[in-house]
Symmetry: C2
Subunit: 352 residues, 2 copies
Amino acid sequence: MSRSQRTNETPLNDRARRLLRALVENYVQDGQPVGSRTLARTCGLDLSPASIRNVMSDLEEMGLVSSPHTSAGRVPTPRGYRLFVDSLLEVKPLDSHEVRLLKERLSPDMDTRTLVESASDLLSAVTQMAGMVRVPKRDHAALCQIEFLKLSGRQVLAILVMNKNEVQNRILQLDRDYTHSELQQMANYLNEHLAGLDLRQAREQILREMKAVREHMNTLMLAAIQLGERAFSDEDREEQVVFTGQTHLMGYAELSSVDKLRNLFEAFNQKRDLLGLLDNCIHAQGVQIFIGQESGHEVLDDCSVVTAPYQVDGQVLGVLGVIGPTRMAYERVIPVVDVTAKLLGAALNSRN
Amino acid sequence: MSRSQRTNETPLNDRARRLLRALVENYVQDGQPVGSRTLARTCGLDLSPASIRNVMSDLEEMGLVSSPHTSAGRVPTPRGYRLFVDSLLEVKPLDSHEVRLLKERLSPDMDTRTLVESASDLLSAVTQMAGMVRVPKRDHAALCQIEFLKLSGRQVLAILVMNKNEVQNRILQLDRDYTHSELQQMANYLNEHLAGLDLRQAREQILREMKAVREHMNTLMLAAIQLGERAFSDEDREEQVVFTGQTHLMGYAELSSVDKLRNLFEAFNQKRDLLGLLDNCIHAQGVQIFIGQESGHEVLDDCSVVTAPYQVDGQVLGVLGVIGPTRMAYERVIPVVDVTAKLLGAALNSRN
DNA sequence: CCTTGGCACTCTCGGGCGTGGAGTGCCAGT
DNA sequence: ACTGGCACTCCACGCCCGAGAGTGCCAAGG
C-alpha cells in the first residue's frame, strides 16, 4: 500500500527514468538482458542492486520492461523503447566530418536515380541496417518537353522530360507510318498544350482534348493525343522505392531465424507494404519512428523503422529511412536519417 | 583382391549406374541420406539390401557417394551428381502446356528490360530457386540514331538508340550554351559518322575524329565529338544482370545457415562474381551445369548453377540460368532453363 | 563367383538428469 | 527509503542412456 506505487499514468520519477535509460543503452549495446548488478554499476546513481530491483519491478508492472524468464535480467518492451525515444533519448548531432562525408557522396551533379541510390547506400552503410528511399513522387513533376523520335516503320520513341532533369522514354508501336514531320507536328502540339502541367493534369487535359479534337476530325492531332496518352500510361510501373543493405539484417541475432528473414526479404521484394508505410510518413514533420508492431505490418514486428521526409523547394518530395532490429542505436540512427534526408533534399534542390 | 574391384577409370556397370541414379533421385526428392533398404525397394532391381551395400561401398570408394557418418545412408557427392547429369539423367521435355505458359509470358511486344525481367521471374517461379538473366550485351549493338535535346541552359539530354529498340539516355552538363540548331548539327554529324557502328567502334571512331577535327579547329564538331564521347562513357555502369527469387533459397535446409545465406545474398548484391560466371558460359553450346565447387566461387560451394545462352539472329546475346542447392531436380531444371533461353531468344528476335 | 541373411557395431537424435551461474523477490534490519 | 542476505527459479551445459537407423563383415547357399 505504499504510496510509491506508480500507476501507468503517473509520470516516471527521475530515478526510474535514468534507470530505464541506462537499461536501454546497455541492452542496445550488447543484446543481453540487463541485471540489477550491471545496472547499478552503469546507471550513474549510487544505488544497490536491491533498490534497483524494486524500481525494475515497478517498470515491469508499467509494461516498460520485461524479463525473458524468472532469473534473467530485464529487456525493454516496445513501450519501453517508445518512452526512451520520446523523452529519454538525447540525440547528439553527427560529427562534422561525418556530415561532410555524407555530403560528398550526395553531390548535386548526380542524376536523380544515382542520388537516390547513394542515399540508400549511405544509410545502410552507416547504420549497418537496411536503407530505403522513396523516390521523388512524379505526380507533381512539371512536364517540360515532349519529343517523338522515329525509329523504324511504326516504332516511335516517346521522350518525356520533366522538371528539366528527369527523363522517361518509351517505345510505342503505332498503327501506321508517320512521317518525320508529322511526328514533329504532334510533338509541337502536345508541348504547346501540356507544358508545365504535371502528369495527372496532362492526362486529364488529354482526355478533354480528345473530345474536342474528335469533333473536328483532325486525325493527326488525334494521333498525337493518343500517342501522348500512351506515353503517359502506366507511368507508375517504374521503381518507386529503393532498398539496399538488406543483407546487414542477417547479422542480427534477434532476426536470424531463417523464417523471419524470409518474410522480411519477401516484404522487400514485394515493396508494396513498405511503400505504403513510407507513404504514410510523407507528411510527418521530421523524423518518425515505428517500434515493433507500431508499423502495423506483421513482418516488421521485430523491427524498428526510422524515417524522415526530404524536401526540395520547401515541398516534400519523398521519404527515406532505415529498417533494423528493434534493438538499434536510436541515438545514432535518428540523426543519420535526419541528416541524410536534409542532404538528399539539398542535393536535389541545388541541382535545378 | 577380388577382380570385381572397380578403379576410378573403369566405367560403371549397369547395376551400379542404376543404383546411383536411384540414389540421386531419392536424395533429390527428400533430402535424407538414402539407405540400402530404401534403395532396394526403389531401384527396380531385385536385389537385397546387403548386395546394394556392396555396390554402395564401391561407389563410395570411387568418390561418387559418401555417408555423413557411419550409420547413415549415402548421399551423392558432387562427382556423383556430375556423373548423374552427364550420363544417367534422362531429361524429359516440358509438357506442351508448360511451354505455352512460358511463351505467353515472354511475348515479343515487351521491351527488352521487361522481357529480361520476366524471364528471370519465370525461371525462379517455375524452379523455386533463384533466377538470373545476363542482359543482352550491348557491345555489338549497332548504333542507329543519336539525338540531343536541349533541356535548359547548359543541360542537354543525349539519346542513343541502338538496334532500333534499345534506348539509353543521359543528361550532360555542357561548358557553354549551345543553340538548338547547333545541337542539331552536332547530332547530324555524329549520326553521319557513327551510324551502324557498335559502341566500341563508335568510341574508337570518335577518338580518331578527335584528332582530325582538332587540326581543322572546327569547334562545333569538336564539341559534338566530346558530347558523343561523354554520352558513350561509362556505358557499362548500368545493370548488366538481373536476379530474382533469391528468397526461394532460404527454404532449402542445406543452405539455411544464416551465414551461408548472407554470403550468397552478398554475392547477389555485388553481382561481379556471378556476372563473371555467366560470361564464361556465354559461348557454351546449350545448357551448362556447375555442381558445387565446379563454379569456382566459394559462395556457391553448396549450390549448383544451370545456365543456357540465348541467341538472337543466330548470335549469342546473353546467358540465363538458375542457382539452387546442389540437391535440385536437374531433370526438370535443365529443360526449363533450356526452353526459357530459347523462348527469350525468340521473343527478342521476332521483335526486330 | 555372386548373392544373401545374420549379427555386431557405430553413430545420431532426443529425453532425462544434475550442476553451476546468474538474477530475482522478498524480508528484516538500519 | 535503502540495503544486505537468503531462498528460489530458471537457463545453459555436460552427461548418460536408449531407440532407431544403417552399415560392414562374415559365413552360408545358390
